[in-house]
Symmetry: C2
Subunit: 452 residues, 2 copies
């Protein structure tokens, strides 16, 4: 059999799959941060174009992908499904391991799947400019490229500590025409306020969100874009799983389990939802495993609560597994997984035991990532190594039990811009971080008053 299972551009899905249509229990509604009443579309209008707001609340099963979006997808889609023969051999496992490789996109991750769509709908509604925040830089890169291609301006608020530590990420965004500001910046009231109190403040994702939102709300021709968590973002990512199902049909195989890392839920939801439909509708029995960092264990040690999406409490209250929006994750290298909560859909699915969760420490993840790179030739992003570590665990279990299972994982991105992480690992300087139960309890206690 061929190593890479490729599809032609004609086979790029024509619709995104909306799992809201098939969930046995729909997520609870998001609540207005002040009134604590369910959010209505008008509440979101200063931030998002109407078409995305409609998608956010839609229960239509399939939502058409506009032709213009499919055209841009053709730059890198369909992405390959690859059989990891080399990795299987290295692990000496009877398991069959496949990965869907999203690192082939211009941004090197799955993020453009939604960035292109979001830029498209904004453009269509006459918007001239998008603002966003970025931590490690994956999302900011994707939105920069999307805006470039759709002819929009892009303003990125990058957490100052990352801005200083990862100058190449900033340059990459500049290359694609985006304006990148270290957050806190002097462009916003929120930023100026912080800088007055603390001129050396190194920023946080929460603050960067506040700045990006403020810059969007203050101008009529400007809206805001988010790279994960929200329903419409996960919806756009379902092209990953939809393609993978076609590719498994070509391979004459079907996964026994699907594994993906989880930050806000976008790469996990993207690959998992279309396969989960097969469980819900066709009686299949595929396992779905979300892998989070042990130092940011929202799914395995957090609680299901209403919580804010940001640190400053400006977003709607979302029903989610959370560690509390003030939880401060340890400085692990997988910056994209350092998020306190999971999206509402993911959280509901976990509540209903339709998906599972695992927490893994970063040393185990980088060990797995390095083995993968050495046998498959692709250096995975730190985020992606979390999925790979779980694959290693499952492959070893197969070996012990003498069983051959078919494992699919989402290789959400490459690590070409994360070499400092590999340096840290190879030099022996990388450490694991403990999170005490006390710390989590305290952080969760702080959001008690938010419950509806």
């Amino acid at each position: 059999m061929e190593k890479k299972i490729l599809l032609s551009e004609k086979e790029i899905p024509e619709n995104w799959y909306n799992i809201m249509a098939d969930m046995p229990n729909k997520p609870l509604p998001p609540l207005h941060p002040v009134t604590k009443k369910p959010v209505v579309p008008e509440d979101l209008q200063p931030l998002f174009p109407m078409e995305l707001i409609k998608q956010e609340v839609s229960t239509e099963k399939y939502i058409p992908i506009p032709e213009e979006v499919r055209d841009i997808y053709k730059i890198w889609r369909p992405s390959p499904l690859i059989r990891a023969y080399g990795f299987e051999k290295l692990l000496d496992t009877p398991a069959k391991i496949y990965y869907k490789y999203e690192g082939v996109s211009p941004a090197g991750s799955h993020k453009p799947n939604t960035a292109i769509a979001q830029a498209y709908y904004n453009k269509k509604e006459g918007i001239k400019r998008l603002t966003t925040e970025t931590g490690a830089g994956q999302w900011g890169t994707a939105l920069s490229i999307a805006c470039q291609m759709l002819g929009l301006e892009c303003e990125v608020y990058m957490v100052k500590i990352s801005y200083n530590q990862k100058p190449y990420r900033k340059i990459l965004m500049n290359t694609f025409g985006a304006k990148v500001f270290a957050s806190p910046s002097k462009n916003t009231e929120a930023g100026r306020k912080i800088l007055t109190m603390d001129p050396e403040n190194s920023g946080s994702l929460g603050l960067a969100i506040s700045e990006a939102v403020e810059r969007a709300v203050m101008r009529d021709d400007t809206k805001y874009a988010l790279g994960s968590v929200l329903n419409h973002v996960l919806l756009h990512q379902t092209v990953i799983g939809l393609e993978a199902i076609k590719q498994f049909e070509i391979a004459g195989d079907m996964p026994d389990m699907v594994i993906a890392p989880i930050g806000g839920g976008s790469n996990f939801g993207g690959i998992v939802f279309p396969f989960l439909r097969l469980n819900l509708e066709e009686g299949k029995n595929i396992r779905f495993i979300a892998v989070e960092p042990a130092s940011c264990p929202k799914l395995t040690r957090g609680e299901f609560r209403y919580d804010f999406g940001d640190t400053f409490g400006m977003t709607p209250l979302i029903p989610m597994y959370t560690l509390g929006h003030n939880f401060n994750p340890s400085p692990i290298h997988a910056g994209g997984l350092r998020y306190h909560g999971a999206g509402a859909i993911i959280s509901q699915l976990l509540r209903d035991k339709l998906i599972e969760a695992q927490a893994i420490n970063q040393l185990e993840c980088f060990d797995a990532g390095l083995k993968f790179a050495q046998s498959e030739g692709i250096l995975p992003a730190p985020e992606s190594t979390h999925g790979i570590a779980q694959v290693v665990r499952e492959a070893e279990k197969c070996k012990m039990e003498g069983k051959s299972k078919t494992i699919l994982f989402n290789l959400s991105g490459h690590g070409n811009f994360d070499m400092s992480s590999y340096e840290s690992y190879l030099s022996g300087n990388m450490v694991d971080y403990e999170v005490s139960s006390e710390e989590i309890r305290k952080s969760l206690h702080e959001i008690d008053s938010l419950q509806a």
Copy 2:
């Protein structure tokens, strides 16, 4: 039509194409550096395995690609041929522009096409370890990966100034198990000699070659590998052009011209030679344009002479267009093109006017590279931008003349590890360098005594 023209793994070529078989005039023989008599296979045995030495002098038209090598090629080959619709639109040209994208390889460039083959033949002849030099790091990365996959050790001598300026390249090689030493090092007599005289010496490619060669020659289980210039290296790269011809057949099109950057000649030869066969054998009239940096103009302002491949005069004398082996190229960002000579085959083809050459300054190249990135979503390596700049010139000519030509160029690699170059360009700090005729004359005068 589809944007990407893909081939299945079955269509990876079964043979490399050896243009030596079809050249109207064969290259002059390389000469022994001391005796100045034509090199015999035994002279090369301390450095290369016998199979590669045979390939170096072969005039067989097709040389079979071993099954094991084709198996590893499957990780990224066949590489896509992509129609640059976005770039065409941005340039507003009637030209049809296609690019063969070699950046999909594990190393991010075309270099693994030969690295894998070289590691394979060495392994087969019982060699345990390969040594090599690297400047910018593309070749060192490719050989590290190849050695990792074939189970060989790899020792890379990296020019000290690059070692210090590009730590991420070093880490990438470490990730793939290679030992990387800053050159000059204390591992070799050559290195120790230099360090004694000048402890702060920042190294050169010439010295790094000397160190790598010394380390290979001193051990029976160790040989040396080179990433360009030599016939067998260019031979291995012909998979690029062979695939591209099949892809053009699928597209129902054929290039009027093929454009590629030139350093030692490996990415140029790789894409051009199979198309050149169509001119030689089938009476086609395709143009082939090698693009060099204006600051290292061996093809456009150098002379055809016998010269050493390295600065220290340890290699055989090669008949080539050269600026003299002591020519010191300006510090342009396309490190892979800062080489004083072109391989013997390329040089002979230029002598016979079967190919053309152009020299372009780096500011024009980066301007073209940025336009390409913004319209096609792939950030090109600085080396690759040289080809793109020529494409822009040809596309503009088409526009002026109202003619639609079909242009193919080799996108030899991505620029993910070259962000400092883009920073320099975007910040306005990048400059062009002049080379005076006096400088070239002086450098060529120094090699007068080498002529046979």
